[in-house]
């Protein structure tokens, strides 16, 4: 077979950038938990990626791309017998790597939402299942030639497939676990549990943004259309900028002060929002999509507090809510001339694409919600989801890993 060097090189570079997002997730999550649970959340981040790679090698790829059933692929376990990638000119190993790092991203989104109270071994079990089965099934539907692909559902880089899937799994996990001790008062009002290290959070968000250029622009799966890649790159710079600005502004108006961690959440929200439509919208559309994402992340956070769901890092507002928003945005702002299946509502295409987008994201997320609920239920029955009250008070680092994240600093635990 003839391979295309530049397409392969681009996919590999993009995948390497996406790989690095793992460190971004790690830093964001570590920075937003307390010192006493930092090593635990980092350990979860490292291991969920390692398990994702393993699970996606053994099962995931076979389910997602192994063969073309409507529901799931069924061949190519351990990558055996797979000699070609679905993308002409790109070796399957490069394609596998690009897909594997996406699986890792979906899995790791959950770590933040369940932080500070979920058992390490339960988390390992969860992370293997999502990468081996759940993520690949949805991926197959949309990208692997499944039924949503047939319907012309358009999720370019994975607002639904990766982010909303991870975000809904995170929501299920957070609901099942319940809030951290002290997070809500008896009257239901929320308390503050401050993140311990904001510089790490900022660093993590910039690592994520950096990787996201690969995430979105690499989803072209080649460099055959330089204009499309360039447009995606531009949009991936624009949307998070308005996302951060609007999240900051709304927080400023509502709470009187601009909050760093919410502004950073806004940037991530803009990134998630632009992920599905990045290839098929123009620059001004991207600015609007990002701005809406920034607003949604603030209200998402308020809703979660009202429903007493405890999501220490804001994974649900960022990934679930904005994953849905991004998917719908294709039906609103998409342009057929740029490659969307149909023009979006705002460009005269009517409701058709919007309907397809709504159907696709609803179906995918229902599937994830139900299966993840069962998965967490089973894990809970077999090994238990939540650490003991004592462990939670002392911190998961000491009881689950027998070590502390920081040494030498004097730590004021209750501050």
């Amino acid at each position: 077979m003839e391979f295309n060097a530049i397409d392969t090189l681009w996919i590999i570079m993009a995948a390497i950038l996406v790989f690095f997002m793992q460190a971004g997730f790690g830093m964001v999550e570590a920075g937003l938990v307390r010192t006493k649970n930092t090593a635990n959340v980092l350990m979860k981040n490292v291991l969920d990626f390692c398990f994702a790679v393993l699970a996606y090698f053994i099962f995931g790829y076979a389910i997602m791309y192994g063969s073309e059933g409507a529901f799931a692929g069924t061949s190519g376990w351990f990558m055996m017998g797979i000699t070609e990638s679905p993308v002409e000119g790109v070796p399957v190993e490069a394609f596998w790597f690009f897909q594997a790092v996406f699986a890792g991203a979906a899995a790791t989104i959950v770590a933040g939402a369940v932080a500070e109270r979920m058992k390490f071994v339960a988390y390992l079990a969860y992370s293997f299942v999502i990468s081996a089965v759940i993520y690949p099934v949805v991926g197959h539907w949309v990208w692997g030639g499944g039924w949503l692909a047939d319907l012309n559902f358009h999720d370019f880089a994975g607002s639904t497939v990766v982010h909303a899937v991870g975000g809904v799994a995170a929501l299920m996990g957070a609901i099942r676990l319940g809030p951290r001790i002290g997070r809500f008062n008896k009257d239901g009002s929320p308390n503050v549990i401050s993140g311990h290290n904001l510089p790490l959070v900022m660093l993590g968000v910039f690592i994520l943004w950096f990787g996201w250029f690969g995430f979105n622009a690499g989803s072209t799966l080649g460099f055959g259309d330089p204009v499309s890649v360039s447009r995606i790159i531009m949009n991936t710079a624009l949307a998070p900028s308005t996302g951060a600005i609007f999240a900051m502004a709304i927080a400023w108006i509502k709470y009187g002060k601009p909050d760093l961690s919410l502004a950073l959440n806004g940037a991530l929200a803009g990134l998630v929002g632009i992920t599905a439509p990045c290839a098929v919208v123009g620059g001004v559309d991207a600015l609007i999509i990002g701005a809406v994402a920034g607003i949604l992340v603030i209200y998402g956070n308020i809703w979660l507090n009202a429903w007493r769901v405890d999501d220490p890092v804001g994974a649900v507002p960022v990934h679930a809510i904005n994953g849905i928003w991004g998917t719908l945005a294709v039906g609103l702002f998409g342009k057929a001339s740029l490659g969307a299946p149909l023009d979006g509502l705002f460009y005269g295409g009517g409701f058709e694409q919007l309907g397809i987008q709504a159907l696709g994201t609803t179906a995918s997320l229902l599937f994830v919600a139900v299966t993840m609920w069962i998965v967490f239920k089973v894990i809970d029955m077999i090994i238990g989801m939540r650490v003991s009250r004592e462990t939670e008070l002392r911190g998961l680092d000491l009881d689950e890993h027998g070590q502390e994240s920081y040494s030498g600093f004097q730590i004021f635990t209750t501050e």
């Binding site: 008070l393 027998g402 635990t413 209750t414």
Partner: protein, 110 residues
């Protein structure tokens, strides 16, 4: 005047604080200390065991009028009981006090 020195566990501080406030004791100071415990604990780091003999505790320091000593002890005991018990309370004498910005001395300076 007396000075109360109380050692509690970090996680007890919120409850103890509330109990003190309820007992109308509204001025005190807290520090993190490393304190001994009846039993050492084994931890691991890179495959090497270590006996940890000093643990993180919170030290409260409360200077108050003599008649409030019992109330403060009760408040601390009550506050710490709610989240696991234990701790120590000590009492020492204070001979003088000054509020520098008013110039009040002694009992009046509290």
């Amino acid at each position: 005047m007396k000075m109360i020195i109380a050692y509690i566990r970090p996680e007890q501080l919120p409850d103890v604080k509330d109990a003190l406030f309820e007992a109308d004791i509204k001025q005190f100071s807290a520090t993190t200390v490393m304190g001994t415990a009846p039993k050492t604990e084994q931890r691991m780091y890179r495959g090497v065991k270590r006996e940890v003999s000093l643990f993180r505790r919170v030290r409260l320091e409360i200077i108050l009028h003599d008649e409030k000593v019992e109330a403060s002890m009760e408040a601390i005991a009550k506050g710490s009981k709610e989240s696991g018990g234990a701790g120590r309370i000590f009492v020492t004498d204070v001979v003088d006090a000054l509020k520098p910005w008013t110039g009040e001395r002694g009992e009046a300076a509290l």
